[in-house]
Amino acid sequence: MPTQEEIYNKVSATLVEALNVDEEDIKPTSTLQGDLGAESIDFLDIVFRLEREFGIKIPRGELFPESIFQGDPDLVQDGRVTTKGLDELRSKMPFADLSHFEQNPEVGNLSDLFTVDLIARYIQGKLENGTNN
């Protein structure tokens, strides 16, 4: 089981490759979209590279849940994530820190959840649970 630091360093190296960014641009709080310029096709590549790098399987929608982004009226109303939507986020992304987002749950702010640190935490949880099959 790699240490937290080893996981972070590997995630960082993966993002350098997938997003064609400099290593010094990557900080734990960097957001993938806003700070590192990731687009939808890049998310696919990131998932693929993480799977290969860590020898894990990342089911579609697990690291980057899609349902909430597709405007399901139960989960998103008037551009804001509903209470039900927040519950959904909590259950689908136990590895995410939602405390800041909850204060202003606008859909547009969702992408800020996806930080370098979030990916590292996700990977760590994945490796700890031994679901690397």
Binding site: N20, E39, I41, L44, D45, F48
Partner: protein, 252 residues
């Protein structure tokens, strides 16, 4: 040599336009994978002739309409040559008939080969190109996409769809350094157009402002351009190569 040490895969590469593209790419230094469906002898002979001249070519049988066959083919080429940097989707069939008489089989065959083949090969190589941040996809369309002929609902539909597909895929891959373009040939002297040429004879050339039927090499030179660094800022385009056929001028 504009394509030195590049790996290129050309479908329908044993005959006609595909063959000319194979020859032109090899002459520019590319290593070429010639994909054929039925004409093994022609493909093998072409590959041998390129290898004899000091180039690198291999011939592989595949059914472009069958995803499993395509994936196996790409795997084999990448094992032999390395990652594919240039893909030319040239394989195509015609199965003309007046629409009211057209059998569903004729529709399916043309759509699955011409359009499905483009999907299958693009699907097999696009992710790798995207990851390497380099790649050229060239789809061979036809002026028949927009300038339709009697009895070609299936063929025109397949080629029109290829043009739209080309633009849509270009948008998805642009950021990753992969360009996707199409060539729309006009009337070209190939086996596919032989029945019409035989029937109409010299009359055809009168409808072409340049007064000549195109050669496969006319198309191959454009394919080399689209595969080379010269076209690096061009994506999602359909280049018409038809001697002016579709300009709409009436013969004198």
């Amino acid at each position: 040599m504009r394509l030195k040490d590049q790996n290129a895969l050309i479908t329908g590469g044993s005959r006609g336009i595909g063959r000319a593209i194979v020859e032109a790419f090899a002459a520019e230094g590319a290593k070429v994978a010639i994909v054929y469906r039925g004409s093994r002898e022609a493909a093998d002979t072409l590959a041998a002739s390129i290898n004899d001249r000091g180039g690198k070519a291999l011939a592989l049988q595949a059914d472009v309409a069958d995803a499993a066959s395509v994936n196996g083919c790409v795997e084999c080429v990448e094992k032999e040559l390395g990652p594919i940097g240039i893909l030319v989707n040239n394989a195509g069939v015609i199965e003309d008939d007046l629409f009211v008489r057209m059998k569903p089989e004729a529709w399916n065959k043309v759509i699955q080969t011409n359009l499905g083949g483009v999907f299958n090969f693009c699907h097999a190589v696009a992710f790798g190109m995207m990851q390497r941040r380099a790649g050229r996809i060239i789809n061979v369309s036809s002026v028949a996409a927009d300038h339709v002929n009697m009895g070609q609902t299936n063929y025109s539909a397949s080629k029109g769809a290829i043009n739209s597909f080309t633009r849509a895929l270009a948008v998805e891959l642009a950021k990753r350094g992969v360009t996707v373009n199409a060539i729309a040939p006009g009337f070209i002297a190939t086996d596919m157009s032989a029945p019409v040429r035989n029937k109409a004879g010299d009359r055809i050339a009168k409808y072409i402002p340049m007064r000549r039927i195109g050669s496969p090499e006319d198309i191959a030179r454009v394919a080399v351009f689209l595969a080379s660094a010269d076209s690096s800022y061009i994506t999602g385009q359909v280049l018409t190569v038809d001697g002016g056929l579709t300009l709409g001028a009436v013969a004198e």
